[in-house]
């Protein structure tokens, strides 16, 4: 997986907020997960945008953080989502 990869959230994956936590349900496996604050932000961006470079740029500006740091965090996050079957990366 690289920053040029395309990411698609599976149609059977649903997201809801409970209290201050974001919960993801994988309807295919019936598993659910909680995202931390950064994971939740990444996920909301991924719902709207499949170009990772654009996401990194926007988040880097928003948090005034180095693009490389954001990129590493995002790719690590995507890897964990991919392992859980929540996204498809091409």
């Amino acid at each position: 997986m690289t920053i040029q990869s395309k990411v698609n959230i599976d149609n059977d994956v649903f997201l809801q907020e409970v209290d201050d936590e974001t919960i993801i349900l994988n309807a295919k496996t019936q598993e659910y997960f909680s995202l931390d604050e950064m994971g939740s932000i990444f996920y909301h961006f991924l719902k709207e945008e499949d170009d990772l470079e654009i996401i990194v740029k926007e988040l880097s500006e928003h948090f005034s953080k180095d693009e490389k740091v954001i990129e590493n965090d995002l790719l690590q996050f995507l890897k964990s989502l991919e392992e859980k079957g929540l996204v498809k990366v091409t």
């Binding site: 059977d12 649903f14 809801q16 907020e17 409970v18 209290d19 201050d20 936590e21 919960i23 349900l25 309807a27 295919k28 019936q30 659910y32 909680s34």
Partner: protein, 287 residues
């Protein structure tokens, strides 16, 4: 079986439906011929009351947004032919049929499935009583003490809302429930609705608080902890009466909305019936 029953906010009529059906009535009628050859898909449930039970449908309904026509089969006892767009359920007798068994399966299992599939309610597996005009729900694992605690509240004079399954719905951002049926089973007998309770509420009641019962040693403290986020969601989802894999996104939204609207507490219940008064008083202080 009597001609009329109350269950889950509906009147059950065993008369032939009139041309103009009452909106709060479900009509239950016998059919002699059961046509099921066109229903190719079978969804098995876990064995229940030592009976094999399953749904028969035309297609695999899992992950679809609705299911209208289906047959619920209690093997060798009775089959219920349902159309969730209609207010009518037909039953077909099998060789072990009795009126009492039909009543049990109809009220205890079939109607919650039917009212789930026609989007009337979201059912929780819970004991529930009325306290200060609000519904208090007791959820938890098997043998956590839901029925015991419900029974204790009834003995204290509270009104029964549900012994086992409670249908809930959201109206104007508040969560309400519809009382289930006036039977209470503080023991474990197969295919038995339980004892008829006089003090039973029929009107819709706003849901107050939910208590997740956690059994602990008999000499432990009665302690209370407010649940948040994923843990709160988990106990509610775990207490969902039936997840039929229909309309999953809407149901996920619904349970999340409930989680955001209500307080859910974990209460540690000592394994000692003599200390139920302590548990009772502790719950009242949180209402």
């Amino acid at each position: 079986m009597g001609k009329h029953h109350y269950a889950y906010g509906h009147t059950l009529s065993f008369h032939t439906p009139p041309t103009l059906k009452q909106s709060d009535t479900i009509y239950i009628n016998e059919i002699k011929n059961l046509e099921k050859d066109h229903l190719y898909f079978q969804a098995n449930f876990h064995t229940n009351q030592k009976r094999k039970i399953y749904l028969l449908t035309e297609n695999d309904f899992r992950n679809s947004t609705s299911l209208e026509k289906w047959i619920f089969v209690v093997e060798d006892v009775v089959s219920f032919v349902c159309d969730t767009k209609q207010q009518q359920i037909f039953y077909h007798k099998d060789f072990n049929y009795t009126d009492k068994l039909m009543e049990y399966w109809l009220i205890h299992i079939l109607l919650p499935i039917y009212l789930t599939l026609n989007d009337s309610y979201y059912f929780f597996h819970t004991g529930s009583v009325e306290v200060n005009n609000q519904a208090v729900l007791f959820i938890g694992d098997s043998y956590a003490g839901k029925s015991t605690l419900t029974d204790f509240f009834l003995k204290k004079g509270h009104t029964l809302l549900s012994d086992d399954k409670l249908g809930t719905y959201i109206k104007d951002d508040d969560v309400y429930c519809t009382p289930s049926h006036p039977y209470h089973r503080p023991y474990r007998n197969l295919e038995d609705l339980g004892i008829k309770v006089d003090k039973f509420e029929k009107k819709q009641v706003e849901v107050g608080k939910i208590f997740w019962l956690k059994p602990v040693d008999g000499d432990a403290d009665v302690s209370m902890k407010k649940l948040k986020g994923l843990k709160k969601f988990e106990v509610l989802r775990y207490s969902t009466e039936m997840d039929l894999y229909v309309n999953q996104e809407e149901r996920f939204k619904y349970i999340s909305k409930i989680a955001n609207s209500l307080d859910v507490y974990e209460i540690e219940i000592p394994h000692d019936k003599k200390r139920l008064d302590e548990v009772y008083n502790q719950i009242l202080t949180y209402l």
